[in-house]
C-alpha cells in the first residue's frame, strides 16, 4: 500500500506529517496524521492511536491538541486518522454533522448504503495498524488508544473489544453509553439497523459489563461545563457504575469550568500522554 506524503512540518524536535492512502476497508482515499518523535530517528517507538470526535478531520488534533511536546518527551508516535470515509458520494452523508461524513462512530456498518464504506472499526483496528507498522519504526506490541467524544467512545470500545491489544486507553469526554443517548441512537440505527442487540457490540458500557481480559486502567477526563454532558449525550455515570461493579479500574475526573472543546483537550493532554507512556514504555 503506497503512502503519499501530504505535508510535513518539524515540530517539537520531531515531525508532524500527514499521509494519504487508498484504504481497502473504506474503499476510498483516506488521510491520516502521524507524529514522529525525535526518538523515531534511531529507535522503534510505541504508537498511540487518537480518534477524533464528530465533525473532525485529521487536522483538528494535530493543530489544536498540543500533543507533540508530550509525544516527543516520551518518544511516542501518535497516529490520528480521519473520522469517516470521505468522497464516497453516499446519499445523505452530508445531511447532518452527527451522522455520515465526519461521524463514522467507529463501527462496521451493516446497513445500506453505509456498509460498503463505513467500516471505521475495521479500519482503525486492522488496516491502519498494519499500514503504520509497515511504514514507520514502530514496536508492534506497544499500541495504545485514546480519543475525544465520539473518538472517546471509539477508543473505549476498541480497547474493550480487543483485550490485550492496547496497552493503555484513555478518553476525553467520551460517549460512554451510545445506546442510551440521542447521538448513539441516531448513529446506530442508521449504521447497524433497528435491532438493538447489534448495538451492544459497540457500546462501552455494555462491553464493560462483560469484559474479561487483561487488567485495564482507564483515564477519563470530562469537562464539568460541557454542554453535551448536561444534554445527556455522554452519560459517564453509567460507565462508572458498571466499572465499579465489575472492578474495571477507572479514574474519572470531572474538571470544573471546562467545556467540550479542544481547549479542554489541550489542558489535560499531557496527563493522558503520561498515562499512556507509563504502559507503553514499561
Amino acid at each position: 500500500m503506497a503512502l503519499t506524503l501530504v505535508s510535513s512540518n518539524k515540530c517539537a524536535g520531531g515531525f508532524q506529517k500527514v499521509f494519504e492512502h487508498e484504504s481497502t476497508e473504506l474503499k476510498c482515499k483516506m488521510k491520516f496524521a502521524v507524529y514522529l518523535p525525535p526518538k523515531a530517528e534511531t529507535d522503534k517507538c510505541a504508537v498511540m492511536y487518537w480518534l477524533s470526535g464528530l465533525t473532525c478531520t485529521e487536522q483538528n488534533f494535530i493543530t489544536k491538541a498540543g500533543s507533540q511536546l508530550g509525544a516527543a518527551e516520551h518518544g511516542i508516535i501518535i497516529v490520528a486518522p480521519d473520522t469517516s470515509p470521505r468522497g464516497c458520494n453516499i446519499e445523505g452523508e452530508d445531511e447532518s454533522w452527527d451522522f455520515g461524513t465526519g461521524a463514522g462512530f467507529y463501527v462496521n456498518a451493516t446497513q445500506d448504503p453505509w456498509k460498503t464504506n463505513y467500516r471505521m472499526y475495521a479500519y482503525v483496528t486492522e488496516e491502519l495498524p498494519k499500514l503504520i507498522n509497515a511504514n514507520f519504526p514502530t514496536d508492534p506490541e506497544k499500541m495504545s488508544i485514546s480519543g475525544h467524544s465520539m473518538g472517546g467512545h471509539g477508543a473505549l470500545i476498541c480497547a474493550l473489544k480487543n483485550p490485550g491489544k492496547y496497552k493503555a486507553v484513555s478518553a476525553f469526554a467520551p460517549i460512554c453509553n451510545p445506546m442510551q443517548c440521542p447521538w448513539g441512537q441516531k448513529a446506530f440505527s442508521g449504521y447497524l439497523g433497528p435491532d438493538r442487540s447489534t448495538w451492544e457490540a459497540y457500546d462501552a458500557t455494555v462491553l464493560a459489563a462483560s469484559y474479561s481480559g487483561p487488567q485495564l486502567d482507564i483515564l477519563i477526563d470530562q469537562g464539568r461545563d460541557d454542554q453535551f454532558l448536561s444534554a445527556s449525550q455522554l452519560l459517564p455515570d453509567n460507565l462508572i457504575a458498571v466499572c465499579s461493579e465489575k472492578k474495571i479500574p477507572v479514574v474519572f475526573r470531572l474538571q470544573p469550568g471546562y467545556d467540550h472543546s479542544y481547549f479542554f483537550i489541550y489542558s489535560f493532554m499531557n496527563d493522558h500522554i503520561k498515562h499512556h507512556a507509563k504502559y507503553l514504555n514499561a
Binding site: 466499572c243 479500574p249 479514574v251 507509563k278 514499561a282
Partner: protein, 601 residues
C-alpha cells in the same frame, strides 16, 4: 658494691628458681602422666616411669594437650619473670650510679669544707704569731732604750768621776748621783709582755660533722612531676596516671591521691569529696572504680626513709564518657541519607560525639572500613549515604579523656524512605501498635482526662504525623487500609494546625476516603478543596510519592499500578507524612520500599 657480684647473685637466684620451675613443671607433668602411680619427689629421675604405663587412647590425647597448655603457661610465666628481672637489674644499676654520684659529691663537699677550715685556722695562727712577735719586738726596743739610757748615765758618771776638774765634779756629782739613784729606783720590768705559748682553740668542725652524718642520710625526695593526661589512656571507669621524679631522688614508695572534682561547688564547703589514696612503688598507676565522664584531681608524693616529699602539682584528669544510646524510634532514612538521634548517655555534658558507620555486604559481612564523622555537637546527625546499601551506625561520646565505647549500633538500609510515626502528635483516641506502624482508632470513648493537654497532639482530627527525614528529594511510602476504612493520608507541614482536619487547611494535602451508603467517595483535599473524581476500584494499598524538586505529591493504587491523583505544589518547608482515621478502623504504614518506576515518571 660489686655489680658483678650482685648480678651473679641474682643470676644464681634465677638459676635456682628456674630449676624449681622446671621441677614443678615436670612434677605436674609427671602427675598427669602417672595416672594411678603416686607422684615422686625427685621427679626428674622418675621421668621414664610413666611413659609405658597409661598410653591409653583418647585419654592421653587430652592429657597431652592439657600438659602442653600447662607448659605453655609456665613458659609464658618464665618469660615475664625474666623480663621483670631485667627491669630490676636496670633499676639497681641506675640506683647504684646515682648513689655513687651522690656520695662523691658529698665527700667533695666535706673535703672542701675541711680545707677551708684549715686555711682559716692557719690564717689565724699567722695573725697571732705576728701580734706576739710585734709585742715582743716592742718590748725589745724598750729594753734597748733602757739599756742605752743606763749606758749613757754610766758613761756620764764615769766621765764625771774621771774628770780632773774637782769643782765640776762637785757641781755635777750630786745631780748625777741623784739621777743614778733615781734610775736605780726604777724598776725594770723584765717580764715578757706576751705569753710564749700559742693558743690553739678547738676547731669548730661541727658543721663538717653534720655533713659527714648527712652522707649516710638520704635526703627526702623533692616533689614528683605528675604528667598530664595522655590521650586514649582513660576508660569509662579508670584513669592511667604517670609521673616522674624531678631529680635523682631515692624513693621508697609513692602515694597517689585522687578525688572527684564536683560540678557545682556547694555554698558551704563542708561537703568535700573524699580523697582516695593508693600506695605503690611504680611511677604509674591505673585508678579504677571511677565514674564515667567525670573530672578527677590527682597528686602524688614520694617517700623515703628520711621523709615525705612535698605534693606534686595537682593534675586534672577526665574519665571517658559512657556510650550514648541511639534512639531507635527517632531515626529515619531515605536512599541518600539517614538521620540518627541519640541520648547522650551521660548526666554531664560531653565535648562532642563521633558517629561511625560501616557498610554491610549482601552476605552479612561487615566492611573493614569504618567512616567516622567527628565533632558532632548535638545529639543528632544527618549522614549522607549511598542508595541501596545496608549500614551499621554507632555513636561515641567524646571528652578530653577520649572517646567512649561504641553505642549499640543501629542498622540502616538505604532502600526507599523509612520513618517512624511521631507518636507525640497522635490524637488521644489513636493507638499505635508495638512495632510503631499500625494505627488504630478504637470505638471506646476516651475520658476527658485523656484529652490532650499537650500542644503537639491533634485534637479534632484523629491523626498522627510521620517523622520523615528532612531531605529534599524523592520519597515513597505505602499505606494499607481496608475497604471500609475512612481515612485521610498525605503530607503536612510540621506546624500544621493541630485543631484542624487534614486537608482542610493550606498546610496539608491528603487523599480522603468517605464511605457513603451508596458508594465510596474519594477526595484529594488541600485548603478544603478537592477535584471531582470517581474511582471505580477501591484502593486498599495506596502508594504516596513525594517529589520536592518537581513539587508533586502523587497517589497510586499500588495493586493496579494505577495513578489516582497528583497535587502540584512547591513545598516551602519540609513536610511530614500524615495519617488520620475518620471512623473506627486501622491503617498500616509500609516503608523502606523502593519507589516503583511509574511513580516518578
Amino acid at each position: 658494691m660489686d655489680l658483678y657480684e650482685i648480678r651473679g647473685g641474682r643470676l644464681g637466684v634465677i638459676a635456682e628458681e628456674a630449676e624449681l620451675q622446671e621441677l614443678s613443671r615436670e612434677s605436674t607433668a609427671m602427675e598427669t602422666y602417672n595416672v594411678g602411680s603416686p607422684p615422686s619427689p625427685t621427679a626428674a629421675e622418675d621421668g621414664s616411669d610413666g611413659e609405658e604405663d597409661p598410653f591409653k587412647e583418647g585419654e592421653t590425647e587430652g592429657e597431652i594437650i592439657l600438659i602442653r597448655d600447662q607448659l605453655q603457661e609456665k613458659v609464658a610465666e618464665m618469660e615475664s619473670f625474666a623480663g621483670h628481672l631485667e627491669e630490676i637489674f636496670l633499676t639497681v644499676e641506675e640506683n647504684f650510679g646515682r648513689q655513687e654520684q651522690h656520695l662523691e659529691q658529698h665527700y667533695n663537699d666535706v673535703l672542701q669544707t675541711l680545707s677551708q677550715r684549715q686555711d682559716e685556722s692557719a690564717a689565724r695562727l699567722e695573725e697571732e704569731k705576728k701580734s706576739k712577735l710585734e709585742a715582743l719586738y716592742g718590748q725589745l726596743l724598750a729594753c734597748g732604750q733602757a739599756l742605752d739610757a743606763s749606758k749613757e748615765l754610766i758613761e756620764t758618771a764615769q766621765e764625771v768621776y774621771r774628770s780632773q776638774d774637782k769643782r765640776l765634779l762637785l757641781k755635777t756629782v750630786m745631780p748625777t748621783i741623784k739621777r743614778i739613784e733615781e734610775f736605780a729606783k726604777d724598776e725594770v720590768d723584765l717580764t715578757l709582755s706576751t705569753c710564749l705559748e700559742f693558743n690553739t682553740p678547738l676547731a669548730d668542725l661541727s658543721d663538717v660533722k653534720t655533713m659527714m652524718d648527712s652522707i649516710n642520710v638520704v635526703p627526702a625526695p623533692s616533689a614528683p612531676v605528675i604528667n598530664p593526661q595522655m590521650p586514649n589512656s582513660a576508660t569509662q571507669t579508670s584513669l592511667r596516671v604517670c609521673w616522674s621524679l624531678f631529680s635523682d631522688d631515692t624513693v621508697e614508695y609513692y602515694e597517689l591521691y585522687y578525688r572527684p572534682v564536683l560540678e557545682d561547688t556547694p555554698a558551704d564547703s563542708t561537703f568535700t569529696p573524699q580523697v582516695s589514696k593508693v600506695t605503690l612503688k611504680e611511677t604509674h598507676c591505673t585508678v579504677a572504680d571511677l565514674l564515667p565522664n567525670a573530672q578527677y584531681e590527682l597528686w602524688v608524693t614520694a617517700t623515703n626513709t628520711t621523709g615525705i616529699s612535698p605534693a606534686s602539682e595537682k593534675a586534672l584528669y577526665m574519665t571517658v564518657p559512657s556510650p550514648p544510646v541511639i534512639k531507635q524510634r527517632e531515626c529515619s532514612s531515605c536512599p541518600e541519607a539517614a538521620l540518627i538521634r541519640w541520648e547522650s548517655g551521660n548526666t554531664n555534658p560531653v565535648d562532642s560525639y563521633t558517629v561511625e558507620l560501616r557498610e554491610m555486604g549482601a552476605d552479612g559481612t561487615e566492611s573493614s572500613i569504618t567512616e567516622s564523622i567527628v565533632a558532632v555537637p548535638t545529639c543528632q546527625c544527618l549522614i549522607q549515604l549511598q542508595p541501596g546499601q545496608r549500614y551499621l551506625i554507632s555513636v561515641r561520646a567524646v571528652n578530653i579523656g577520649g572517646p567512649s565505647d561504641r553505642s549499640e549500633p543501629i542498622s540502616i538500609t538505604t532502600t526507599g524512605t523509612f520513618f517512624y510515626l511521631l507518636e507525640d502528635t497522635a490524637h488521644p483516641c489513636l493507638s499505635i501498635s508495638e512495632d510503631g506502624f499500625t494505627i488504630f482508632y478504637g470505638d471506646e470513648e476516651l475520658p476527658i482526662s485523656a484529652m490532650a493537654l499537650d500542644d503537639n497532639t491533634f485534637t479534632r482530627c484523629v491523626a498522627v504525623l510521620g517523622d520523615l527525614i528532612p531531605v529534599r528529594g524523592r520519597h515513597y511510602w505505602e499505606v494499607e487500609v481496608d475497604d471500609g476504612t475512612e481515612f485521610r493520608i498525605g503530607v503536612a507541614y510540621e506546624d500544621t494546625e493541630r485543631n484542624s482536619y487534614l486537608g482542610a487547611n493550606s498546610t496539608s494535602w491528603c487523599m480522603r476516603h468517605i464511605l457513603s451508603p451508596s458508594r465510596h467517595k474519594y477526595e484529594f483535599l488541600h485548603n478544603g478543596w478537592s477535584p471531582d473524581l470517581r474511582i471505580t476500584v477501591n484502593p486498599v494499598r495506596i502508594g504516596v510519592a513525594l517529589d520536592y524538586d518537581r513539587g508533586t505529591l502523587s497517589f497510586f493504587n499500588v495493586n493496579l499500578e494505577q495513578h489516582l491523583h497528583t497535587f502540584h505544589c512547591h513545598f516551602q518547608n519540609y513536610v511530614h507524612p500524615c495519617f488520620s482515621l475518620d471512623n473506627p478502623g486501622a491503617l498500616t504504614v509500609h516503608n523502606s520500599i523502593e519507589a516503583p518506576e511509574y511513580t516518578f515518571i
